[in-house]
Symmetry: D2
Subunit: 103 residues, 4 copies
């Protein structure tokens, strides 16, 4: 399945959230799952149980650093579909007949 994850601490002020995001990226990287980073979250693709596992790991890791953690998850789970991180954007580009701005 394909998921988008964003996890951030509410008690660190306005600056320097990128070092916390970097920690989540390290955890996702270690999972071995396909992923892609954008400005407001990270896309993760893989088997349902593995994706939920890495999501909860990222959340629990942030809880170690912060007294209040906000986590958002958006899942689009299409039966039998693979390679959707790139494939869904390509499919939109085919409909448009041109490339779109990407990360």
């Amino acid at each position: 399945m394909l998921a988008e994850l964003s996890v951030f601490p509410l008690d660190k002020g306005v600056e320097g959230l990128s070092r916390y995001v970097a920690e989540s990226i390290r955890i996702i990287e270690e999972s071995g799952l396909d992923y892609e980073v954008h400005a407001l979250g990270t896309l993760i693709e893989g088997p349902t149980d593995k994706v939920f596992e890495v999501i909860s790991k990222c959340h629990e890791n942030m809880v170690l650093h912060s007294d209040r953690v906000v986590t958002y998850v958006k899942i689009d789970d299409r039966k039998g579909a693979r390679g959707r991180i790139k494939g869904k954007v390509r499919s939109v580009e085919e409909k448009l007949g041109r490339d779109v701005p990407k990360g």
Copy 2:
């Protein structure tokens, strides 16, 4: 922690999603966790691992019924806080000095 969950099938058309929502509610009810239903999701409160477990169960159950499932999760995890499903709304009411419309 406190989470909001919404899970729905994308291939069932415009009508009759309530029977799929009802299935999720049954799964949440069986978990024994505190929960509250509103028009655009269900709030669930409990230990992190238990809440993630019931979220993934609801998602996996919907996958049995649908070839494309969309799931949204919003988590607000505040250290040591309990009873927040009711408590957070009461806290806003105290600030306002009056009751607000609730479910």
Copy 3:
């Protein structure tokens, strides 16, 4: 249409977000639209333009108080449907054959 809104400042620490939520509620109340508060957001129902107007007002008001504002909006817009803040939950209760915990 039916929308769920949550708006919060990222630079106020872990405590006392309820007074900021209370400000949003006041703005929504003044709009005259139907609304309902729960622990992780506020449901708002009304004509599309009015709902977007109140959402942007709540966001812009929070920007006056904070150097970093996070806003989440979830919309479920079903043609011709009214009274969905209460109606959708009732519909789930009919499917279940019993009441569910509400706000």
Copy 4:
């Protein structure tokens, strides 16, 4: 401000949502705002009023095609910040000391 938008019809079944996404991209492109497409949404950056305007246009356009439209918006509005679609990812890469997978 920086926003992420996803808009989709609930009554078109499991296939062929990309043509609807393509319509939103066209509307965003015409706005002249900076944007970037990923597999689960489109990032849009610009002045608050312009971004809300294009979001409501995308939603209202989808309502023309569908009897039930679901729209999700995530906003991260940081005072005085610009160029965040690319800048936020670069900032994470600096913390990690390496590139991350991007779109």
